[in-house]
């Protein structure tokens, strides 16, 4: 049983990160109808900035908040200057620009901070070897507990933003019917920029936590996390915040259990394969995901 709880807990902790990044994808998708392929690279780049600020002597928590602010401004700027102008032309143009951002941010990070030499990154949470608690025979590391709590808190704040605030209502209105939103006086441009900014800020936080667990910042930091998050968003149904969170946690638990109980067949190497098979399976069987609306364009 202790193995079960270990896999469950580890799964929830990594699932919390997938959920956060999936929320970023969903927030952007609901506002604009685009999948931001550069989401992972945007958070990777912000994480490098957090690391650099910390390296210069800023306390890590302050560096993380600064990174989120920079992320917000960066995300909003990208939406207004790069995405919105080409969005009028076609969805393919948006896709190409996002791919350009993906490639550009990745290579820029490599160029500025060097590709292979890893930069050591401290964790936001206590992370000494004996910083853990034993519950049900499983070791619950403070770091993992911290990630899970941050994940839940951010999710809660997002829900409050969307459901309790005037601006959140405006964001949901834009997602529901952009034309009517303009007619009731919503500045849709500002809402879209804010969606991208918000997604980038949450991404920066997620990236900082990921780098804290591995202890290093590399250009490929968020790559597999982006794939997991896409799987979570797909499973959750792309326009559902709650769906993204539940799906993220589920995928985290499922892949940890799969890797743990079938070390020969799946193991560490094929963990990503589990997530990818979920994407393929969901899209083949139920393209709207478990919690999605009917918005998927069916042929």
């Amino acid at each position: 049983m202790s193995r079960f709880f270990q896999y469950l807990f580890d799964g929830l902790s990594s699932g919390a990160i997938y959920s956060l990044l999936a929320l970023c994808l969903v927030v952007v998708y609901r506002g604009t109808g685009y999948l931001n392929f550069a989401q992972g690279e945007m958070s990777m780049f912000c994480t490098f900035l957090v690391w650099k600020l910390n390296d210069w002597g800023m306390p890590l928590w302050l560096a993380a908040i600064s990174g989120m602010l920079i992320g917000y401004l960066g995300g909003a700027t990208v939406e207004t200057t790069l995405i919105r102008p080409v969005a009028k032309r076609s969805q393919f143009a948006v896709f190409v620009v996002a791919i350009g951002l993906f490639l550009g941010l990745n290579s820029l990070a490599g160029a500025i901070w060097g590709a292979p030499p890893q930069e050591t990154m401290p964790s936001l949470f206590p992370n000494e070897p004996d910083d853990f608690q034993r519950i049900f025979g499983a070791s619950w590391r403070y770091q993992s507990i911290g990630i899970l709590i941050v994940g839940l808190v951010v999710t809660g704040l997002l829900f409050a933003l969307f459901n309790k605030t005037r601006f959140g209502l405006a964001m949901r209105a834009v997602a529901s019917n952009a034309d009517s939103a303009r007619l009731v006086g919503v500045n849709t441009g500002r809402v879209l920029a804010a969606s991208w900014g918000l997604a980038a800020a949450i991404g920066a936080l997620a990236g900082t936590m990921v780098a804290g667990t591995t202890g290093e910042v590399v250009p490929g930091l968020m790559f597999s996390y982006f794939v997991y998050a896409s799987a979570a968003a797909t499973l959750g149904g792309f326009d559902s915040l709650g769906g993204a969170v539940i799906a993220g946690l589920t995928i985290g638990v499922v892949e940890n259990m799969a890797a743990g109980y079938a070390p020969k067949w799946i193991g560490q190497e094929m963990r990503l394969g589990v997530a990818l098979l979920i994407i393929l399976g969901v899209l083949l069987i139920k393209p709207t995901g478990l919690f999605g609306e009917q918005k998927v364009s069916r042929v």
Binding site: R166, L169, S176, S180, L183, V184, G185, V186, E293
Partner: protein, 235 residues
């Protein structure tokens, strides 16, 4: 009577195609102005041009300020509410949320307004926590109008509210519009294809054909005009 809206040489279209070829209309305070026109005459384009949903040239004077260069959300903030064709409610939001977002351009408290509209449309109150997408066509149209009026506009643009509604529901809707007009002095610009009921509540009438205003007059003149009766009144 003071003038609330005046357009001069209003031109608009989609892409390279011009649909409106210089429209001149005016609405005075407290009037219900009806614009009649066939399918494709440019009625919806005219409404969208006035509310800033599409790029346009010419003059749109609202309360003596030119608003032709403003984007849609700023036009709304000035005091024009537009109920688009097909109602344009937010199907994923609840009825109450639809009303709340209607007051987005206001900074003051609007709880009393929501209660007021529940009083006008009791059926909306019964369904206040339901998603707007689950309402019937008539209920959605009432919601759309209530939502538009949540911003306390000085001018209401109504684009074919009767579309897809049963005649009885349409009549009820127009009675509400007329009551609002007489009780609160709300000015209304209404475009309609089925003109019978619209003419009953109209103060003045314009006729729009292929993007141009071809005539204007009182409702009585139109009801007694054979050509108009044939084309727009169906009898």
């Amino acid at each position: 009577m003071s003038e609330i809206l005046r357009t001069h040489d209003l031109r608009a279209g989609y892409g390279l195609i011009e649909v409106l070829h210089g429209v001149n209309i005016n609405v005075d305070a407290g009037e219900i102005v009806v614009v009649l026109g066939a399918n494709g005459a440019g009625k919806t384009t005219m409404m969208r041009a006035i509310s800033g949903m599409i790029p346009r040239t010419g003059v749109v004077d609202f309360l003596a300020d030119d608003i032709a260069h403003l984007s849609a959300h700023k036009v709304t903030a000035r005091g024009i509410a537009h109920v688009p064709q097909g109602r344009g409610t937010f199907p994923e939001l609840t009825v109450e949320e639809n009303l709340r977002i209607g007051a987005h351009s206001r900074r003051d408290s609007f709880a009393a307004d929501i209660d007021y509209w529940y009083g006008v449309f009791p059926r909306l109150q019964e369904r206040r926590l339901q998603r707007a997408g689950s309402l019937s066509g008539g209920e959605q149209q009432m919601l759309a109008i209530a939502r538009a009026l949540m911003s306390r506009p000085k001018l209401l643009l109504c684009d074919e509210p009767s579309l897809g509604l049963a005649p009885l529901v349409t009549r009820e809707l127009f009675e509400v519009l007329q009551r609002l007009n007489s009780e609160t002095g709300l000015s209304v610009l209404l475009v309609e294809q089925n003109a019978n009921l619209a003419l009953e509540i109209a103060s003045r009438v314009y006729l729009l054909e292929t993007g141009e205003i071809v005539s204007s007059g009182t409702p009585d003149e139109y009801m007694n005009n054979d050509a108009v009766r044939k084309s727009y009144l169906g009898h």
